[in-house]
């Protein structure tokens, strides 16, 4: 069914857009590196492929005059999803071009901003590319070479967006969202306790109740560890006594 295909492709595009944004945030900071640039390039290419595929599919679906009203509403909703994704992607690509130009990697005295982020972004990129591990094979002047490609790609994307708006007449404001406010809480997001705890400690508001909750969570894990060790000690002692007895 065309709709399901569309939805899965849109999900994929959505995922890649989100990952691309994470990667662009790391640009220019201390977690910037050759690898990051390569990750950006590959994610971008993937995003573009997905975008083109989505676009062809959706345009063909929308051009079809013989679909029912609900179908058309649904396709319009998917169209709005697609165009918003493309908006985000375009802005991120332009920003990455600008930041990439401002922070070249191959200069003798490079000043990357010490933001506190030092880890690699490989896992994010792997998620974007839907692979287990990223393999880096780019050559060393990727930052300058890539920028030229990036410029070309940006113009490509802009052109595509313009064509889209011309060809398909969808009023984006007329689309009604299916999700209501607070829908993001519905699907089970397993919020890792530890991350909540650490982040809450960063917030310096002692009155923050979340800090209390986070503190409790941390405390609970510490208590669990302590209890475990106590039990292990008791077991060791008992075992020693048993051995002594026998």
């Amino acid at each position: 069914m065309g709709k399901e295909e569309c939805k899965t492709m849109l999900d994929a595009l959505n995922k890649v857009t989100a990952c691309y944004r994470h990667l662009v945030v790391a640009l220019g900071s201390t977690s910037d590196s050759q690898n990051l640039r390569e990750e950006l390039k590959r994610t971008r290419k993937k995003a573009q492929e997905l975008a083109v595929a989505n676009r062809t599919k959706l345009t063909s679906l929308l051009k079809d005059k013989s679909i029912s009203k609900e179908d058309r509403a649904e396709y319009e909703r998917l169209w709005v999803l697609f165009s918003s994704s493309m908006d985000l992607l375009e802005v991120d690509m332009k920003r990455s071009l600008e930041i990439g130009q401002d922070f070249p990697l191959k200069v003798p005295t490079r000043h990357l901003i010490q933001t506190g982020m030092t880890g690699s972004t490989g896992t994010v990129a792997a998620r974007a590319m839907s692979v287990q591990n990223m393999k880096y094979e780019a050559d060393s002047n990727i930052d300058t070479a890539d920028l030229r490609d990036l410029q070309a790609e940006i113009s490509q994307v802009s052109q595509m967006m313009e064509e889209m708006e011309m060809k398909v007449q969808v009023a984006p404001w007329a689309v009604e969202a299916k999700q209501e406010a607070g829908a993001e809480l519905k699907s089970n997001m397993s919020v890792g306790n530890s991350s909540v705890g650490v982040i809450s400690i960063c917030e310096e508001e002692p009155k923050d109740e979340e800090g209390g909750g986070g503190g409790d969570a941390g405390l609970a894990s510490i208590c669990a560890v302590v209890v475990f060790f106590v039990i292990v000690t008791v077991a060791v002692v008992l075992g020693y006594l048993v051995i002594n007895m026998s």
Binding site: D11, N14, K15, T17, A18, C19, H22, V24, V25, G28, S29, T30, S31, V80, L81, S84, S85, L88, V91, D102, H111, I113, Q114, T115, G116, M117, T118, G119, T121, V124, A126, R127, A128, W173, A174, V175, A177, K178, Q179, A181, G182, A183, E184, L185, M189, V191, G192, S194, S195, G197, V198, I199, I201, C202, E203, E204, E205, E209, E210, G218
Partner: protein, 657 residues
């Protein structure tokens, strides 16, 4: 005197906004230098250690060293870095300032730097709020909740996308290691504190309107560009010039006068609210406060304009004028201001109202303007527009300025106000108290509510407005058997003389005592009648309207070019003529009429139209004596010099108004 903008901005297209951003970026890059930059240290949290934290004092020291400035300036420069969002605080993230102690800060990643060409999108903010919602399991702060609901309403069509994207970004963030995750969350939160400040946070990102053209871009030198330069310089040459001795003298005088009143240049008592977050200064200087501050009263002495512009000053002046019985001048001036600044829909009615109250012959609060101005005004009133009463208003303004203002300054009212004025003590807040004040910041009343209150006040004042008869000439001499004036309990002679003793505004000449006395004496029965009328006044508005009707008739009668039956009043005319011949304007007899008739509706008063001839003359009052002759001559034929009042001609006999 105005100081003109002498920068060559050629029509203000290229006024640079936020050009500081590019400069700050350079400074920030310098700060990163491992050798000569700011020293960083790791931030130790419970489980992890995150590097690249800098202390406030290090930043201040580095800035002072780099730019060769003193610590105070370095501190404010550092606060600017924080307020713009290039550096964010790790503790107390909502207060965007640099504390020169060991509190920790961190640099913001370039993606989250403020940039002129990248506007902050609401979509991104919605995604951020959704992510925060997930992280906090639905418990958002109040302002965040409000924003969330607002965005949900206005961006509803994109909401699916926002939810999907928020979830995906959340999942992607979890792929990173813990310290990086923490740092990213802090960065994003800091970004949104700068660009969507929570209440109580001062944002530095207010830049006014968007310009069409990028202010940082280089301008191409087309012929059009040079054309604009030529036009600008030609206009500069044609500008009228003032001798620099004159202009500089005026500047010096202005600076000397206002130096101690400027909150930038001198201390603001009790304390500047923008510095200390304590609003006592504003509450003490509210428009309708009972006792003004000494500084405020001192400002009133600078110029008449200052007095009028300050609502409390105007109030005081109004009180003084009421005592002097020349309140109509100020009322007229206020009415003209109201007309100028009011809505276009109400303009016609307002102009009509002002005319009837102040300008028409025998109007209840008639103002004294010269004949030429009156002529211009009445001609203009045929097609009323916003500035139709400008000439009259200026005349009255100059009148008040030259005459009443001087007397006000020497008057008892002003002296009392000056004595009662308060001089508040200066606040001395400790740092802890300042922090407390910052936390307790509350928004003030909404301007909509303030405007409503203002309108109510004005309506109340209009309802209580004194309906004082301001001129007593042959046209408005009280008729004995008509209980015209109320509240006249004391003897007319004494009253008349006392009222006559009150000086009138300059163009008005005071009638000699004797005439009025004779006038009064000539109407012996009037007193009794008046008292009787006074007693009869107490019941019902019908009495008042009758009185009003008769007064109106009387006024019209005097001005009327024949046509009105004057049998009843014929006996009076010789006496009135005699009185008038001695020279016209007598001050009102009963200034207290207003206080005795508080809820008298002016509308009622005006709706009663008596038989006035449609072509009636409006007499410029100065030339009364000549007018008498003119009137006599042109009794039958209407004179060539006829000023036809627009409303009276249009609506001759409207009883309903």
């Amino acid at each position: 005197m105005t100081i003109r903008n002498t920068l060559r901005d050629h029509g203000q297209r290229y006024r640079p906004r936020m050009s500081c951003l590019k400069k700050v970026e350079k400074v920030l890059l310098e700060m990163q230098d491992p050798k000569s930059g700011v020293k960083s240290q790791p931030q130790r949290l419970v489980i992890t250690t995150i590097p690249h934290a800098i202390t406030g004092e290090d930043v201040v020291a580095w800035l002072a060293d780099r730019f060769q400035i003193d610590t105070r300036e370095a501190r404010s420069l550092g606060s600017m870095l924080v307020a713009l969002g290039f550096v964010y605080p790790l503790q107390d993230h909502k207060r965007l300032l640099l504390k020169p102690d060991a509190s920790l800060y961190r640099f913001q990643t370039p993606y989250f730097w403020p940039a002129q060409q990248w506007p902050v999108e609401d979509t991104d903010y919605a995604i951020y709020l959704a992510k925060r919602n997930i992280r906090k399991k639905g418990i958002l702060e109040l302002h965040e909740q409000e924003q969330y609901n607002r965005l949900h309403k206005w961006m509803n069509h994109k909401w699916d996308f926002i939810v999907m994207q928020a979830k995906e970004q959340y999942r992607a963030a979890k792929e990173r290691k813990k310290p990086d995750r923490v740092v990213f969350d802090c960065q994003e939160r800091a970004y949104w504190v700068v660009h969507r400040p929570p209440p109580g946070t001062v944002s530095a990102m207010d830049y006014g309107l968007d310009r069409r053209i990028d202010p940082n871009a280089e301008e191409v030198k087309t012929p059009d560009y040079y054309e604009r330069i030529m036009i600008f310089t030609q206009q500069s040459i044609m500008r009228p010039r003032v001798k620099s001795s004159v202009s500089i003298g005026a500047l010096v005088k202005y600076c000397a006068t206002y130096n101690s009143h400027d909150p930038f240049l001198s201390k603001c008592l009790p304390s500047n609210p923008w510095h200390t977050d304590d609003v006592t200064y504003w509450t003490l200087n509210m428009p309708n406060v009972e006792t003004p501050t000494k500084m405020r009263v001192e400002r009133w002495t600078f110029s008449f304009g200052e007095l009028l512009l300050d609502p409390r000053g105007r109030d005081d002046f109004r009180r003084f004028l009421k005592k002097e019985f020349s309140g109509e001048n100020l009322a007229f001036w206020e009415g003209c201001e109201d007309l100028k600044w009011g809505t276009a829909a109400t303009m016609r009615e307002k102009a009509e109202q002002i005319y009837k109250t102040f300008l028409a012959r025998g109007a209840p609060r008639w103002i004294n303007i010269d004949g030429k101005t009156m002529e211009i005004t009445v001609n203009g009133l045929k097609h009323p527009h916003r500035y139709v009463l400008d000439a009259a208003q200026t005349h009255i303004y100059m009148l008040m300025k030259k005459d009443s203002y001087g007397r006000y300054m020497k008057s008892q009212v002003f002296k009392d106000t000056l004595k009662k004025a308060i001089c508040p003590e200066e606040h001395k807040f400790t740092d802890a108290q300042l922090e407390q004040n910052a936390k307790n910041r509350r928004p003030s009343l909404s301007p909509i509510i303030l405007r409503q209150q203002e309108l109510e006040e004005r309506a109340k004042m209009a309802a209580n407005a004194p309906v004082d008869i301001t001129q007593l000439c042959r046209f408005t001499t009280p008729v004995p058997h008509l209980a015209v004036y109320s509240g006249l309990m004391d003897s007319p002679t004494a009253n008349a003389s006392s009222s006559l003793a009150v000086p009138c505004p300059s163009p008005v000449s005071v009638a000699p005592d004797s005439t009025s006395a004779s006038d009064r004496r000539a109407e012996p029965g009037g007193e009794a009648e008046r008292d009787g009328g006074e007693a009869a006044r107490a019941p019902g508005p019908t009495c008042k309207s009758r009185v009003a009707l008769s007064l109106r008739r009387l006024l019209r009668r005097r001005c009327g070019v024949g046509g009105a039956p004057s049998a009843v009043f014929a006996s009076l005319s010789p006496r009135c003529h005699a009185a008038a011949g001695a020279g016209g304007r007598i001050r009102p007899i009963s200034p207290d009429a207003s206080s005795q008739a508080p809820s008298r509706r002016i509308g009622n008063f005006f709706q009663i139209k008596v038989d006035i001839p449609p072509e009636c003359r409006i007499y410029p009052i100065e030339s009364e004596d000549e007018d008498e002759e003119n009137r006599a001559t042109s009794q039958g034929a209407l004179g060539a010099k006829e000023i036809i009042c627009p409303w009276e001609s249009l609506t001759p006999h409207n009883g309903a108004g």
